[in-house]
Symmetry: C2
Subunit: 361 residues, 2 copies
């Protein structure tokens, strides 16, 4: 291990409920715990194993909701319960990130922390790990917050974008000028054209000292609440404090609380064949397709005159379909979803409707 990585930690963020991936992803077993790619391993497990090439298991932490603690320990039996940092309430990403920073900072005030989602996919693993190693170096010698920006390969309207400072002069680390919401197609095409925009991957590297400073400055309420527990972190009293105080933190995303406000944010453009697998369409874009552009997750299917669908069948169930175009067909044990692929942004809402209509009894 690189000497610089001695004080480096990963926190894998694994608390999401993946509602856009419903009905495969459920609140009980969200996407990160599923073998979405059909490799025999959950996305969580794949993510963990990726970081094992960089760091020993004991330096890898998980940030999740309390209700997923056992599931994480089941998927990653190599770790101890102390490595699973549990949020007792769902307060978006910022409070959990601050909590993880406080805990790890107390253990190791020199800590550099890599924050990474648990449910993304990266094909160029070696290049990714090299970027992280260099990124850690960059952060250790500068008071910066670094985010991995993905080199866009298409004008995707499903991702947020990072606008880099145009005056980077060949420096691989580019100052971030602005974070941009998901654009419309026209804007996305302009972004792609300009060369100054990257996809926002939600992966960060920072020293705990620097991110805590940023919380103090830009999200003082979160900082104040969690700072009160400083003496208790990593002791037997931590859990009681968190159970009581964490739910009082404002529910806000780290992008909104910190990234859009801080002025010491840098990015490094990454060409790592990445997908956030955030939606069925993202999965369709990422996975290999048959000659009619269908992605089929399932062993037994007979598709006729059907193009550009994404199909996921439960277990070994047989699908026969004809004249189906641009649909997602998601078959789970209790739910079958047959939905136009280009309307997948509605799925989150449909999921709520269905839960209200059929399950809230």
């Amino acid at each position: 291990m690189n000497k610089n990585l001695q004080h480096t930690y990963v926190a894998i963020m694994a608390g999401g409920i993946g509602s856009r991936f419903w009905p495969s992803s459920t609140e009980e077993t969200p996407k990160q715990f599923l073998d979405i790619l059909g490799t025999g391993k959950s996305l969580l497990r794949i993510t963990y194993e990726r970081f094992l090439h960089l760091l020993p298991s004991k330096q890898i932490y998980f940030v999740t909701h309390l209700s997923y603690r056992d599931k994480i320990l089941e998927h990653i039996p190599e770790i101890t319960a102390e490595q699973v940092i549990c949020e007792p309430s769902r307060n978006n990403t910022a409070p959990g990130i601050a909590y993880a920073a406080f805990k790890i900072h107390k253990m190791d005030p020199q800590a550099t922390l890599i924050m990474a989602p648990s449910d993304h996919v990266i094909l160029k693993e070696i290049h990714f790990l090299e970027l992280l190693e260099k990124g850690v170096d960059f952060c250790q010698s500068r008071d910066v917050l670094l985010t991995l920006g993905i080199l866009p390969t298409r004008p995707d309207t499903g991702y947020g974008y990072i606008k880099c400072d145009a005056k980077s002069n060949g420096n691989p680390y580019r100052k971030v000028e602005e974070f941009k919401e998901k654009p419309n197609l026209q804007t996305a095409m302009e972004y792609l054209e300009s060369g100054d925009y990257l996809w926002n991957s939600g992966m960060f590297i920072w020293r705990t000292a620097i991110i805590l400073e940023a919380f103090q400055k830009f999200a003082p309420e979160i900082h104040q609440i969690l700072a009160r527990g400083e003496a208790l972190y990593n002791t037997k009293d931590e859990m009681e404090f968190i159970a009581k105080e964490f739910p009082k933190t404002p529910s806000i995303s780290v992008d909104y609380a910190i990234m859009e406000n801080a002025d010491n944010i840098y990015t490094i453009p990454a060409d790592i064949d990445w997908s956030d697998l955030g939606t069925w369409n993202a999965l369709h874009a990422f996975l290999p397709k048959d000659q009619n552009a269908n992605v089929i997750l399932g062993k037994n299917s007979l598709l006729q005159e059907s193009t550009n669908n994404i199909i996921k069948m439960h277990s070994n169930k047989v699908l026969i379909a004809k004249d189906l175009k641009d649909f997602m067909v998601i078959d789970e044990e209790d739910v079958l979803l047959i939905y136009p692929k280009n309307k997948e942004q509605e799925i989150k809402k449909v999921r709520e409707q269905v839960i209200k209509k059929f399950y809230d009894k």
Copy 2:
């Protein structure tokens, strides 16, 4: 009971495999054993109970394939195994009908026999039973073969037709001139217009003496083979004889063997709200629809912008669908079929393909 019904018997034909109703109907559990209408009873049970209004249980027989004997006794526990007439091989309808006629004729040479499919639906039950009673009377005093013709309500291209003699002069029993194959739409419209055509229901009334005479004349091979067993029917030796000899009979339909050749065939037009439920489209036509012309067999479904579909969900599974038009969505435990409704004639073939591809290992 009407005195004339003392020598009357029903033979419910329950040997079909309902392949056009796949994947709900399987060779193991074909359509007649399914609760297709969601009433809590199989079509077989509904058919049996309908005839119980006319005749006591002991006068109701079943003609089926040997492999379904136990299933029939399970659905109709009131009968004895002797009432299930079993064909050891699949030789189409004519041999089974001849076999039933031989058996019942030996028990009761004065027998009048009503032959009825096990998997049709009839809403006007009282009128249907009245027609049968009158039909039995008609057959008892004349050497005729009577078939129930259904008054057509639309130019259906899924049914065969019966052309009646135009010169019936108000007599409710009309001489049959010809049996017609399923017509195209233009021809079906002409049939409907003319008033001389009825749907071929596959329900017959005849004295066993008369139908056996017809077999002797028009299907002598079947008659000859089965006549050799006359001394054995209804004895302990029947089964051995049938196991050996029945498979030698030619495989032919009763329509083709007898009805298209005999010249003593009469029909009575029946207005009984009937459907053969022969196909998913027939079921769609028959069942109540939602405001968008969808038929939904299943408790939990959320359909948006979807019209004119037939949906059948396995168990209590939830369906969510959008932008689905003119499809059948048939969800069974092991198979999901999503198929254009107007191409359902392909299902028989698709079923064979699927069985060959995924099940023949």
